[in-house]
Amino acid sequence: MKINIDREKFKLYSLIAALLLGLLIVLFPFAWMFSTALKSPGNAFTFNLIPEKLNFDNFKAVLAGENLAKNPEYVPYYREASDTVSFLTEADKPAYLIINNHRYNTPVPLKKSSQGKNVWEESIPLDNGRYQYSFHSFEKLHKLKVWPDRERVRLEAPIKGKTVYVIGNMTGWRPQRLREENGVHYTFMFLDPGDYTYYFTTEVPVIRNLVFRKTGRFLRIEDLGIVPVIKENEIEIFYEPVSDKPVYYVTDKNGWKINPEQKALRYGSNMVRVILPKTSKFYINFFETDDIKTLEGIDLRKNCYNYELVNDRVKIGRNHFWHEFRNVFKNQGNFARYFFNSLIVALLAAFFTTIICSFSGYVFAKKNFYGKEVLFKLLLAGMMVPGMMFMVPQYVLVYVLGTIDFLNIGKILTSLHIMGMNTYGAMFIPHLANVFGLFMIKQYMETIPTSLIEAARIDGASESRIFYRVIMPVASPIVMTLFLLTFIGQWSNFLWQLIMSTSSNMYTLPVGLAMFQGQYSAEWTKLMAASTITVVPIIILFVFAQRYFIEGMTKGAVKG
């Protein structure tokens, strides 16, 4: 008998253990999200799930739209006199250049530049071609000779830090992370016999791609564009369009306004050139379009280039977002704003969906009218159509409704945020006719006894009074369920809101997140902080109203 009880207990414990293990796996991503959001950016890649110190800076940063744009950096330039390319960087320690040119297999030391205290510079001859370069600062360059009889080499880093990388010609001068065990950072490498140079670091250098063409003497740097040419009083900026369409430019100097005169002239076969008066700092952006009207309503500052001139050397940055302008355009382009947008859209959607679905659900449940069966079947058939199908026609419809010329209707609809691109209305109105919701409410209202309605009618209540005073109070649980389901549905709607919002101040949380990921995929801690902001409201809602969620989603699903 006693053995039997123990067996029961064993079964119970192993069941609970299995369920807990499953739960651990299912909820792990969210635990990791919280943990990463609370880490400092330097510790983003650590294995530890419990951050040593709670760090809310990431949340502050994404909520305030902190300046995440990289500061403009020096770009290499061509020296005509010596036929060399000059590389510059800013560093407080002696800096070295690594460039994947056969002539420079080891780091090239840079010399102190006349530019400033922390600027390092060196000119090297280059052939036409594509290169990758990066700047490094290191204490000591290690040398290693691998003999034919040794194939596995253990490298142990003499430096301490959260994450340590080894960089050398065995890794193509790319940083490779070391494993850590008991505070020792090490790695095993399988190497061919030969000579190697490497060093250890805790900082990852930025690797830039460079295209150099001597004819025309231009240097193109991936992400930063073509290096401009500085003249006596002006600066020549080049841009490579990807299409044959005319190229227009906008700068901060004229307040980001676009006008037909700001057309960039062709230069050579595949470039355009813009000549601007020399100023120490400016922003510029390029657009390729046949018709500048298509640029209306678009955030012209997005992905703009940011130039800085320091003693006739150029620094270029790429401002992927809004950040540089946050003082000018308050409330734009930060997750606080996205949160607000999401909240408005989800609340309005939930409110209107429940209202119109209750109206029609009531009618289908309690009224007898001509064409009821046919209409209901038609609505149900609409439910079968895959959602992807509506993307194209709904987009065209919204676009057209927002640009009706007749009586200025389009402008009025857009300015009232009812319909048109970048309006709140366009983000939820097309999804208001929720057949699933109608079906759910109809099912529930059919269980309300008709005698209740008859009694109210005998008392002389009007139809609308019966609906608001008799039906709605009884149906409140299902109405609540539909409200919540629509709310979370809209909160996480991505595709539609992605194509509806072209201006960053209309982004909702998912769209803002996707854009953020596209631009700052390496900013893990901030990315996760923004993700946390997106899911926490829903988690809180779920904790308090889980019954509505679970029953609403599953019961309706099976019957539907």
Partner: protein, 325 residues
Amino acid sequence: MKFSRKAHETVESLVFLAPFLVVFGLFLAYPIIYSLYLSFHKVGDLSSVFSSLEFVGLSHYSELFKDTEFWWSLVITFVYSLISIPFGISFALMLALLLNNKLPGKTFFRSAYFLPNVLDILVVSMIWTLIYSAPYGYLLQFIGKIADMNIWIISSVFNSFYNFFSKTGFLGNPFTALPSIIFALTLKGAGFGMVLFLAAIQNIPGDIYEAADIDGASKIRKFYHITLPLLKPILLFMVITGVIGSLNAFTEIYIMTSGGPNVTIGESVPFFGGTTQGATKVTGYYLFRKFRDLKLGYAAAMSYILLFITIFITFLNMKLLKKED
């Protein structure tokens, strides 16, 4: 006067129905027809969609039939549902069977497993993208830790895993990209199926099992011969929603792989030989790409083909259901 009563109610009903019908007509019914119209036309410029469109007849459709990328995306969508549906169902069923025991904290487990279901698919995809990434992704680090533990053969297996994925990550390898996406989404969606199965299992009357007990049936036999057949409606429902889900799959692909990584198909493969295709480019994502390139007519034609596929599958399902009855 029954007739006038019904007429009166019809007018009343229409007033209540009006808002729903207007939105339904304008944004759901009309777009389906308009999409068909668009699929026969070439849309050059958005500003001219309602005034002057070039009629191209069936050429979008004939182009689609020759478009290897489109057929490839259908193949990928098929593979996607082929992996995700059985995996999703078995995971959900397993959880439901585990929960269908007497144990404390049952409601807690039910809610906790269900929770990821209500969360944003975009956020989930984003988290998993980072977990799967190389070389700092959590999964790779985890594998590296196990490899470092020096447990005989496990270490060497995990070490080769580590080395294999350390350059591309799990989403950068064409063979693991799709299964990785499916794994992430199955974990997210498992709670939904679990609740459905659990409700259905609890609805099975206990005396059936008692009768089986008297006949001396084993647990496994009881599962295969009683539980599983009675869960058939739920299973079919999950298959259908799974297929429609894979036809609509977009966000996870957009965030996690953008349709990549690209693979060049060997010359010997019929139809696709020699072409370069995205290993995770499902139809939903391909449709979006065409839409983004403003090939609206082409995208509309594609969505019509998808509609027919959905109708066909739904029809097939209804036949299967009828057979059971």
